[in-house]
Symmetry: C2
Amino acid sequence: MYGVILAGGSGTRFWPLSREEYPKQLLKIFGNRTLIQATLSRISELIPTEKIYVVTTPPQLEQIRFQLSLETHSKLNYISEPERRDTAAAIGFAAMKLQKQDPEASMVVLSSDHFIKDEPEFLKSLCIAEKIAQEGYLVTLGAKPIRPETAYGYIKAGPSLPLAHGASKVEQFIEKPDRAKAVRYLEDENTLWNTGIFVWKVRTILDEIDRFLPELSEGLKEIGKTIGTEKEEKILQTTYAQLPSISIDYGVLEKSEHLAVISTDMGWEDVGSWNALDEVIPRDNSGNIMTGNVVNVGSTDSIIYAGKRVVGVVGLENIVVADTDDATLVCNKESAQDVKKLVEVLKKHNGDAHRIHRTVIRAWGSYTILEEGTGYKVKKLVVNPKSKLSLQMHENRSEHWVVVEGIATVTCGTSVYTIPANQSTFVPMGVKHRIENATNDFLRLIEVQSGSYLGEDDITRFEDDYGRVLSKKTE
Amino acid sequence: MYGVILAGGSGTRFWPLSREEYPKQLLKIFGNRTLIQATLSRISELIPTEKIYVVTTPPQLEQIRFQLSLETHSKLNYISEPERRDTAAAIGFAAMKLQKQDPEASMVVLSSDHFIKDEPEFLKSLCIAEKIAQEGYLVTLGAKPIRPETAYGYIKAGPSLPLAHGASKVEQFIEKPDRAKAVRYLEDENTLWNTGIFVWKVRTILDEIDRFLPELSEGLKEIGKTIGTEKEEKILQTTYAQLPSISIDYGVLEKSEHLAVISTDMGWEDVGSWNALDEVIPRDNSGNIMTGNVVNVGSTDSIIYAGKRVVGVVGLENIVVADTDDATLVCNKESAQDVKKLVEVLKKHNGDAHRIHRTVIRAWGSYTILEEGTGYKVKKLVVNPKSKLSLQMHENRSEHWVVVEGIATVTCGTSVYTIPANQSTFVPMGVKHRIENATNDFLRLIEVQSGSYLGEDDITRFEDDYGRVLSKKTE
């Protein structure tokens, strides 16, 4: 069995902790691991890392790769979609890749940002699911509801399958219900939460895609022909964007006749909005969940996420406050679904607060914009041990660097020299330059940019460890 | 008539916009002027600037002086209390100073942070008050209540004084009432809000202080003897801290028999807490007051104060959000009085967020701490035209300066040189240095400090335009 982790997400529902380029799976919402780290860790118990594929898009790839590199030293596989085309395309593309390697493969499809409390139960359910999948079923894990949740889809289980305990045919997929229906479903032991965790043979899902989504199937086949050839990248770029954008649920599962569901009790939660944290994190005596630099006077039943900045809360009830370096959310718990709408409004504005954090993680480390003014910008750069930025040049700005920790190896024009902490150097406009950290410790430096245009896109790359020589978009 | 503006305030009730060293009167809560600027502007219509005295303490003096210098070019008088000893001492001290100059003086006492809508009505009332004060009365302006306010004290007016229309003897001072009483007072035309605006002859108030607060009177007389002599400063420092700390209301007005009140309709408000803004600022169609970088989805009846940072609010009702560079408040309107308690908690913590803003205003300009880390600190300095910092030295840190706007005149050791924008310089540890802006434009520079100890108190001053050579506390 192969593992396929769908690492998508638009970073809207947990804004401002999540951003378009830093979605929920990259957050440590609970515990010491980010959600995607926890997802990998969980499935690694069953599937060796080298048989796990992470599907994502280029803006998120760098940070996912970084986080997962902290989780495992083994080789992990990445599938990069040129752009997001919903789950049917992502799953179909992954299935196509797996089929090339192993036509008899089966695959488990996981979201990267779910919460599962009971891992042994989860793994046990997957084993049952795999057994059923071998018989040609598309298998979904269903979770027994523990409250009348209106934010989840449901599955109505039909007759039991004799193949395995807890497995049934699917009678019906049910959309997110209203409150009254959700209360009824809670009492019906045959109605389960649809977890979006799927197990099937690669052959089965590709056949069903062919049957119900012929246009998608066509596109995938075209891409499939070039997999492993030199044409792959080019065909992928042109064809992928044309694939129909539809979810696997709507596109295939609601139509297929080969559906099974495993009833589980694994403590699954989708954690789809700020108020959903109440379901997965223990509250204090006042019903609050609070983290970071919070000072509370008399608030109850509230969720307060702070970082280093001081967040003072007074007399709140059922309020969510989420604070980051550059943006703050204050939201009524009942309106948590509307955070999406807020992010839509932000997108229409000029700013970047919907897309990136004040600190932006890069393959070589990170940068933080400390200050911007007319004609200047101040950044903190952190360069990871044994890492270097690209050899680059700016047409419209010069840069002053003051090293505050570690030792920088600087290329400036034809010179190469080192600067220790408490020394500085200057890179004139139009001169090729590079910062490298050749040591085993972190390098921290303050960069003061000066010039008439200070956009991140004023960069020409000559050499880069991360294949970004063609790109003009990132430092 | 002389004007005495009491510029006190502990900066707690409008935290985080107000701070201990940046209290409410320094804020532009409404309109284009700060509250103290508006106070000066208002009273200047009646009293020439050179007859106006501003009473305050050293931590606030610099910023008050700066703000008022933008309001008037004429000479304004400052009385600096060595420390705060409540209103009886502040008023007594000011009266003592005035008496030395002009024994027949009368004075109007104003708070620096009140709101008055109808200025002509205010000035008219002061003229009436002055007339009555000449007869030996302690006169208070009373405002006709327009709602059952429980946050204000009240005055019960007694028999009319034949001296002027709208003037009465005072029957009783009434403490902040409960809601039921406040409703009753609203219906009684003889019960007025106590505005804390007083008019009296200097001689009258000093006589009454002598009668009811003999200990305070003794201390004031001792200070009075030295006024204008070289001993003044020293006696003030030792004696002032020993003065009894009591309000003029409790200490004198509630006991005196020579009290009068003028009934006015001047649209006075104390604006004593965040929720009081609803009384003085028009709300939008959803009942909100919003300013700065706010994105709102469906909030109503809320007060949102943002700056440059993004503040997103979703579905709030009757909530106050106040955001600054380093701290955010989220408060239920009904709990607005408890913001004080929050600041008390903050004081007990290590941080500075109760005391100062991220940007600290100085006589020479301002500084902003952009970043702090182990062994380094990054600041932005803005130096006003024709201003300079002190000639100083640091024992434990060196400093890198990158000029990003304007021209710096730098003293470093025995050298003096200028640096234009996009150039930098280095000041080694233990070397005397100074930054000066000799131009007519603003100077902006980025300072990167590097060293084992980076506290503001590592400073030895050799020369200073602002008399701070002895002080170790401020840059």
